[in-house]
């Protein structure tokens, strides 16, 4: 089997080098580029399965490069940036990025996110989880109501019955915010009284199982002071 090929674009040669070694250790093939123009050149003559793209670069910055790539290709792009504001992340994701990692990053988290994106791109795209009424998909999450199964980027994840019910309810209504009382009444089928803590603890456990970095969740989000929701990602 041919190794997945990853393009790493960063004007800082040391960082690009570190990422290269990290990914090679994980068994990937890596091509490096030091600015947007070089990256575009590489893409012309090589088949690439994933791009890690720094935003602040000379000549052609990451966002412009990404827009040029998106004109012709649908490969996963992970943005890499020192900008850590929510607004920066939202901008990057809305312009077509599949993930957003802030510098300085945890190397293991980077590897996990790369793996997650590649799995979705290479495997989920054509098999599994598609065209079934009992299955619900949000990003890399695939929830099968009939079999009571959940896979994250293809990997099965074990959930308790309550956890599964909570997640099922939220995934079915992805994008909507629900209060702890609403979730409790739906899942426990009892009158909710002072349940905030109970629900929150369950939410946290689910996050630890499905999120790469539970501190910065991608799917299951707490809307502070209001409730909980599953982010609506396609």
């Amino acid at each position: 089997m041919v190794n997945e090929r990853i393009l790493v674009v960063d004007d800082d040669r040391e960082i690009a080098g570190a990422i290269e070694k990290l990914l090679i250790m994980e068994g990937y093939e890596v091509i490096k580029a030091y600015n947007g123009m070089e990256a575009l050149d590489v893409l012309i003559s090589n088949v690439v399965h994933l791009i890690i793209l720094d935003i602040m670069m000379p000549r052609l910055d990451g966002l412009s490069t990404m827009m040029k790539i998106r004109d012709s290709k649908n490969i996963p792009i992970i943005l890499l940036s020192a900008k850590s504001e929510d607004s920066d992340k939202i901008l990057g994701l809305s312009m077509g990025a599949d993930d957003y990692i802030t510098k300085p990053f945890n190397p293991q988290e980077l590897v996990a996110r790369v793996r997650s994106q590649l799995r979705r791109y290479l495997q989920l795209g054509d098999k599994d989880c598609a065209n079934s009424t009992s299955k619900h998909v949000v990003g890399g999450l695939c929830l099968d109501s009939d079999k009571a199964e959940l896979t994250v980027d293809g990997d099965p994840v074990k959930l308790t019955a309550k956890e599964f019910k909570i997640l099922e309810f939220l995934i079915k209504n992805a994008g909507c915010v629900f209060s702890a009382e609403q979730i409790y009444e739906r899942v426990w089928q009892e009158t909710a009284y002072s349940v905030e803590n109970t629900v929150m603890v369950h939410i946290r456990r689910i996050r630890e199982k499905i999120e790469i970095n539970p501190k910065e969740p991608k799917y299951l989000k707490v809307v502070w002071g209001i409730g909980y929701k599953i982010e609506n990602i396609y």
Binding site: L22, P104, E196, N197, M200, V223, W224, G225, I226, G227
Partner: protein, 614 residues
């Protein structure tokens, strides 16, 4: 010697004693005077040796002559009261008398005889009667020797009674005056120095008000004096009646009070004169100086010292107003004196020129002010943008090398290294991780304090947010072994804020409390709503002596424990404070013994009505 004398004369006790003595003396002399009046004692006894030489006697004779003549002229039946003298009066046709003519002539020693329009006098009479009557009118009037002797005796008795009282009054008054002079000399002085000391309270009163107050005791004394005089005149007994005694007691009382009031005010005024504050410290002066200050403030442009443009505006305004005033006045005068419309119009023309000048110049100044304002606004915006750019750039420049460090440390840890090198790599990994946290916190704080923190304001339930935070931190709480006792409101508490930032705030505060609490103690989270303000208090008992103030702990990088060994950036509380303020709350730290207390306040219900979950 001189100092001793000074110390003695300026002694407070001596002053008080003399003041009391003055009061007593004045009261005593006025009482004696009242007594004299009530007893109706004639002061003439002091100056005239013999009764028959006295003005009193003379008046009695004149009265007698007038009464008898009136009787004959107007045919009056009887003279009232019963005359003490003997008389015979006739107009040639009829006669009135209370003794026979021969009996009267027996007492020629005191005889007044009017016959043929001329007076004849006895040897002991007062020889200067100025009355003259009709030619055929004749009058004989005399006093018996017994009566005169008795009167002389009474005259001398009164004199022996009066003399000691008069002497006592005079000595009292003399001594009182001397004491008053002494008091005037020493008042306001102290034995220690030669300064003038004003007495608190008394000397705070305005001088003119003091003078006004002085009128009241004077008026009372005057009416008292009148009352006593009237009483005295209506009684002429030797013994005082009960009512007279009452009046005297009453007057003694008022005299004491009046004297004290007058004395105190007089001495206060004297002190002020000595301190040269009599005029300055008066209501009239205060009012006038206030008015003059007010008027002068119009012409005072020192407050525009550093603002030349506004200063010129202010001056121009002043010139315009006064010149216009002068013009209105002159136009009025011109019209009145010349009655010519043409001359009367001259000031109006001048006024028009003044108005033109005023508007034209002001317009220029306003333009300059606007330009300056615009420039400073742009300057400010530019510096604000530069500040934000600086934070972003520094952030990038710090994070990029840090990324390399962390990545290569990670790669290094995967190499096959000797044991000691592995330890070093672990330390590097640990410290670079901490550095990452510090840098991240530092930029959060920098953004927040520079006001460039993006906010996502929403209506949210503060109670829910605290419960969510506690649920999120459950593992941490369990691990610390410290329990949390919460007493939150029973109903949702809606505020308008940024939930993610507030989560950071509570996470930092509770995390701090867990880290620095004494084992076995509890953390209290209380919530109370008062006056549309929700107040959340997070209270814990510190495990170490808190020898810092609430201000110090909020300073950047200050850590509760002096040794900075444990993890964390030391910015937690600062971030909590800054985020709270940024998201519309108030943040306060209180330290009371071992109790560490953080108080957060938010306005309840924000600005709009609460809408449910989105």
């Amino acid at each position: 010697m001189a100092t001793k004398l000074r110390t003695f004369t300026r002694n407070k006790i001596l002053k008080i004693l003399s003041f009391s003595l003055v009061v007593i003396l004045i009261t005593a002399s006025s009482l004696q005077w009242f007594y004299l009046h009530n007893r109706n004692i004639n002061p003439e006894v002091l100056f005239v040796q013999d009764y028959d030489q006295s003005e009193t006697y003379h008046r009695k004779v004149s009265q007698g002559i007038r009464d008898t003549i009136n009787q004959i002229v107007y045919d009056i039946e009887k003279i009232l009261p019963e005359p003490e003298y003997l008389y015979y009066v006739s107009d040639g046709e009829k006669a009135y008398y209370n003794a026979s003519l021969s009996h009267i002539l027996d007492h020629e020693k005191y005889l007044y005889k009017y016959v043929d329009q001329s007076w004849e006098y006895g040897e002991h009479t007062y020889n200067n009667i100025q009355y003259y009557f009709d030619e055929n009118l004749s009058l004989y009037l005399t006093f018996t020797e017994e009566y005169m002797e008795q009167k002389q005796q009474e005259w001398e008795d009164e004199k022996t009674q009066l003399l000691p009282i008069v002497i006592s009054i005079f000595t009292s008054i003399t001594v009182a005056i001397l004491l008053i002079i002494y008091l005037i000399l020493v008042t306001g002085r102290k034995p220690e120095d030669d300064e003038v000391h004003l007495t608190p309270y008394m000397d705070m009163m305005y001088s003119d008000i003091q003078l006004g107050i002085m009128i009241f005791p004077l008026m009372i004394s005057y009416s008292e004096y009148n009352m006593v005089r009237n009483y005295g005149n209506s009684h002429s007994s030797n013994v005082l009646g009960m009512d007279q005694i009452l009046v005297i007691i009453l007057s003694a009382f008022t005299t004491i009070i009046s004297t004290i009031i007058l004395g105190v005010i007089l001495l206060s005024l004297v002190r002020k004169i000595k301190a040269k504050r009599l005029i300055k410290h008066s209501l009239v002066y205060a009012i006038f100086s206030g008015i003059s200050k007010f008027i002068r403030s119009f012409f005072d442009d020192s407050r525009f010292e550093h603002f030349p443009l506004t200063k010129s505006l202010d001056r121009r305004q002043l010139i315009f107003t006064s010149a216009s005033g002068v013009m209105v006045f002159t136009s009025f005068i011109f019209l009145l004196s010349t009655r010519s419309l043409f001359i009367g119009m001259i000031p109006v023309f001048i006024e028009a020129i003044i108005i033109y000048w005023y508007f034209n110049e002001n317009r220029k100044t306003f333009k300059e002010i606007n330009q300056g304002f615009q420039a400073s606004l742009q300057e400010q915006m530019k510096s604000e943008r530069m500040k934000v750019d600086l934070i972003t750039n520094v952030s990038h420049d710090l994070k990029t090398p840090l990324t390399s460090i962390i990545s290569y440390v990670d790669l290094l840890s995967k190499e096959d290294l000797p044991e000691s090198a592995k330890d070093y790599v672990n330390i590097l990994a640990d410290k670079s991780g901490r550095l990452k946290n510090i840098v991240s916190d530092l930029f959060d704080l920098a953004k927040s304090t520079s006001g460039s923190l993006p906010l996502d304001m929403k209506h949210l339930d503060l109670k829910k947010l605290i419960q969510q935070t506690l649920g999120d931190m459950e593992d941490e709480i369990e691990k610390s072994g410290i329990s949390i006792k919460e007493s939150l409101s029973a109903t949702p508490v809606y505020i308008y804020s940024d939930g993610k930032k507030l989560y950071r705030v509570f996470q930092n505060i509770i995390g701090n409390a867990l880290k620095y609490s004494m084992q076995g103690t509890r953390i209290f989270i209380d919530m109370k709503i008062d006056n549309n303000i929700v107040e959340v208090t997070i209270k814990n008992t510190a495990s170490y002596p808190m020898d810092f103030t609430a201000e110090e702990i909020l300073q950047r990088f200050t850590r509760g424990d002096e040794a900075r060994t444990s993890e964390g950036s030391g910015l937690g509380l600062s971030i909590a404070e800054s985020f709270t303020w940024a998201s519309g709350g108030r943040f306060q730290v209180e330290i009371d013994g071992d109790q560490f207390k953080v108080i957060l306040k938010f306005p309840v219900n924000g600005v709009e009505l609460v809408s449910g979950p989105e």
